[in-house]
Symmetry: C2
Subunit: 357 residues, 2 copies
Amino acid sequence: MNSALSISQGVAEKSVVNPNMEAVLARRRRREISVEELFSGILKGDRTALAQGITLVESSLPEHQEKAQELVQKCLPHSGNSLRIGITGCPGAGKSSFIEAFGVYLINEHKKKLAVLAIDPTSQRTKGSILGDKTRMNELSANINAFIRPSPSGASLGGVAQKTRESILLCEAAGYSIILIETVGVGQSETAVHGMADFFLLLMLAGAGDELQGIKRGIMEMCDGMAITKCDGENVNKALAARSEYQGALHLFPATSYSWAPRVIATSAITREGLPEIWKMISEYEDTVKQNGWFSQNRKEQQKHWMESTIHNGLISSFYKHLSVQKELLLAEQAVIEGKESPFKAANRLLKLFSQS
Amino acid sequence: MNSALSISQGVAEKSVVNPNMEAVLARRRRREISVEELFSGILKGDRTALAQGITLVESSLPEHQEKAQELVQKCLPHSGNSLRIGITGCPGAGKSSFIEAFGVYLINEHKKKLAVLAIDPTSQRTKGSILGDKTRMNELSANINAFIRPSPSGASLGGVAQKTRESILLCEAAGYSIILIETVGVGQSETAVHGMADFFLLLMLAGAGDELQGIKRGIMEMCDGMAITKCDGENVNKALAARSEYQGALHLFPATSYSWAPRVIATSAITREGLPEIWKMISEYEDTVKQNGWFSQNRKEQQKHWMESTIHNGLISSFYKHLSVQKELLLAEQAVIEGKESPFKAANRLLKLFSQS
């Protein structure tokens, strides 16, 4: 919680090493920054303001949340003008190396401004394990056109996802034209990322047998494109074979409702092979779905879905915070698991407790 | 709602054609049936009692719901002794014909008692469109060892799914050892069925191009087995080719966490080819997951999940029934879709309205 006031997570600040006194003063100054100041800073593309804005969004303190909502609301009319790319893959697929290589490629070759966000609900303790290891993204994190932000911490996926969604809006208002949203391919976070991305890219390691265990089933069919990573050195043949296999398998999948056939591309973060093809695929996708209306329809549905899921999360969190519910919950769960009470009866009993006060 | 008191949906009653007067008397009698009577009838395997019990479960009237919960609670200790098989497939894959053929096979060759339930949230109007067409299941619906019940009607998938879950418990208490739960392969109902089944079977039509559009992406990776239907006549070669293709594709999928490699089997409802292999696959699956503990672990998790989703559904439905929320909801949605209000701000505004009274 108290991390809410620190802005140390933003890369923009990483070179600021304050002596003690200066840090105290700086912290005091930061506290006084108004929403209006943050907003105008963000609009100007000021990275410090953006990082501070996101810190505000990530804070759980009620007074910060109020300010954060005000800031998000202000940024809203200036948001939306980016391409939001979701990236997932099993641990070991080389997500960080890929994002480093792909990001630098987009900045250098296509003059993009790139923000990298992450959703990792498991990172509560480490506060952003995926992007925490900045050494993997040396070149990108030093680049003035890249803004890298680790996963927000939070108790629930719903909470983490909401913070990331709001951060997207802030990054867009700050002029970032490509938003990469990264997630580990386990649990339900990919579904959350899929629900906030325009394009969903799955990274796969060639010849991964056991590695695939880490990926949740159902993810493969969700993707709009797949990249076989580490296609270099001795791996090239294996990667190319995997490419064909997956491309064949994707043909068997149900077609997307938006006239897009996902492609599989082999790539290497070392040789940079495949990066232009991946960008070409994503660009063609963008053209296709902007032309056939899916792009804006999907965004609208996502907006509506965000509202609904915020409502659901709010309801559920107030339920589980309820004292009488908390007292009864574990006992009820146990009775249900042991088959002593029907799930419906237990649920209704708890709901009654909740509504009674 | 008034259909709650009619028992005409159960197959058991289909031969009962009452003259007017008798019908009135019968209806009066039915009203007086106590939970205790229903329960003892169900335990004896009485089909009329089972059909009436399910009708009670499906009723939305509060007094019926109370009785239904009592009945479900009574049946609970006698439930669980079945294999619950979820079946999905795109429209046109021949679900009804498959279930007819497979059901008759299980009854005749393996002396099973079979209940067929359905989840079809879109069937609100037609009250059970999938199984409504009984002519497709002539042989099965006439069989004394089969109990067929169309999809319950209901406003939401959550509501429909809950009713089906409770019906499963009743059928099990009535001694049905195989429960087939059928769903159309669109929307989110397959996820609901997956969440209440021990084994999830996906039916696919060979050479289906556009037909696949109807299936939701992600379903293929959820299945424990796949059957290519209509493997007969001129279709045989196409079906066998599809079988190999899908079998190859399934190998590329992430492995299940429960040590099971899904198989693909070609089958025909006409020649009955493949039915023994499908049953063999399901039996081997049952042995495997009972041995490695997944079967009971999965059931426990499902129980817990049922409780949670009943809570969530209850919270959400009381939210949307709230008068001040209803007044504001459409406006808020519109503002969100048009990008005038942030989804989070709108949601929080509505949540405040809800909590204020």
